[in-house]
């Protein structure tokens, strides 16, 4: 099973790092609709928080492709770690419950 996990993670990293710089920069369906129906401005400057890696580009890297690839690398690993950790926490609760019975 370890092998499959590694292969899966490698596939995800390949997509996140090597394919992400080639993604389409067209607006997505919601953004395009908001533009066409003139409500895109309702979201301008309304961000409640400031994110460290806005728009999937590592700030300070002038090469756009590298900035995107870096964001893909960081994000893919963070989501893997976060979900793995979440799974362990959810599972850990079960073990504690069994012990306390």
């Amino acid at each position: 099973m370890k092998k499959e996990i590694l292969i899966g993670l490698l596939i995800a990293l390949t997509i996140g790092v090597f394919l992400s710089p080639f993604a389409s920069s067209f607006p997505d369906g919601l953004e395009k609709t908001a533009e066409d129906l003139h409500f895109l401005n309702k979201g301008e400057g309304k961000e409640v928080i400031t994110s460290p890696i806005p728009d999937y580009a590592i700030p300070g890297i002038s090469n756009e492709g590298l900035a995107t690839a870096g964001a893909g690398l960081v994000g893919t690993l963070i989501v893997f770690g976060a979900v793995y950790g979440l799974g362990k926490i959810v599972q850990g609760r079960k073990e504690n419950q069994t012990k306390s019975f």
């Binding site: 920069s25 369906g29 309702k42 979201g43 770690g81 959810v90």
Partner: protein
């Protein structure tokens, strides 16, 4: 299709945050009951794949793009409740670290693009899988569920915008569904390809399919 801050009014985003929070809490309870050791790394890989795939916007007609949601795929491979946890974690990280989707819209985004596909998409998949049977049933079910998950997300997003008074429903629903009918084809193609690959290398990974 990530809704930014400013598109939803307070009544809609608080309602959606409560609904999504409650559903995620219920999902944790369900997962807690039967989470096997080997499923945890699989959930991690699914999350990593969904994040990476969502970075890949593919062009559709009319200067628009779309990307994978992955909610139907996650539910097919992990079951609906684990899938909800995976997609929720992904949207939270996208919102906090990458400014994709507003913090106020997080509940609505998780519900529309995650929960709907995980629950309704999964039900559609299981219905078709049982009706058709065999690997063929799995593949057809996966494709149809994937397409439906995108249409459900577009409908949910349109409703949230309309209830917020941002744009009338009859105005927004038509272009949203038209664009996402095409995006959904991409979702179906990627989902079917992934499921076919899993069927070939590790069919036992797929959730709740009777062993032959």
């Amino acid at each position: 299709m990530h809704i930014p801050d400013g598109f939803l009014d307070a009544k809609v985003w608080t309602t959606m945050s409560v609904v999504t929070g409650g559903t995620a809490g219920y999902a944790i309870k369900q997962v807690n009951k039967k989470l096997g050791e080997r499923q945890i790394p699989l959930m991690g890989v699914m999350g990593a794949f969904i994040f990476a795939a969502q970075m890949i916007n593919f062009p559709v007609a009319g200067g628009t793009s779309g990307h994978l949601l992955g909610s139907a795929l996650a539910a097919i491979l992990l079951g609906p409740w684990s899938a909800i946890l995976v997609t929720t974690a992904n949207f939270i990280i996208q919102c906090l670290l990458f400014q994709d989707g507003g913090l106020t819209a997080l509940g609505a985004n998780v519900f529309n693009m995650g929960i709907l596909g995980c629950l309704v998409g999964y039900a559609i998949y299981q219905g078709i899988r049982k009706m058709v049977g065999g690997d063929k049933g799995i593949i057809i079910g996966a494709g149809v569920a994937a397409w439906c998950s995108v249409m459900l997300a577009a409908t949910g997003t349109s409703l949230a915008l309309a209830f917020s008074g941002t744009v009338p429903l009859n105005v927004v629903i038509v272009p949203m569904l038209a664009i996402h009918a095409l995006v959904g084809i991409g979702e179906a193609v990627i989902t079917v390809a992934a499921v076919q690959y899993i069927l070939k290398v590790r069919p036992d990974i797929i959730y709740d399919v009777p062993k032959v």
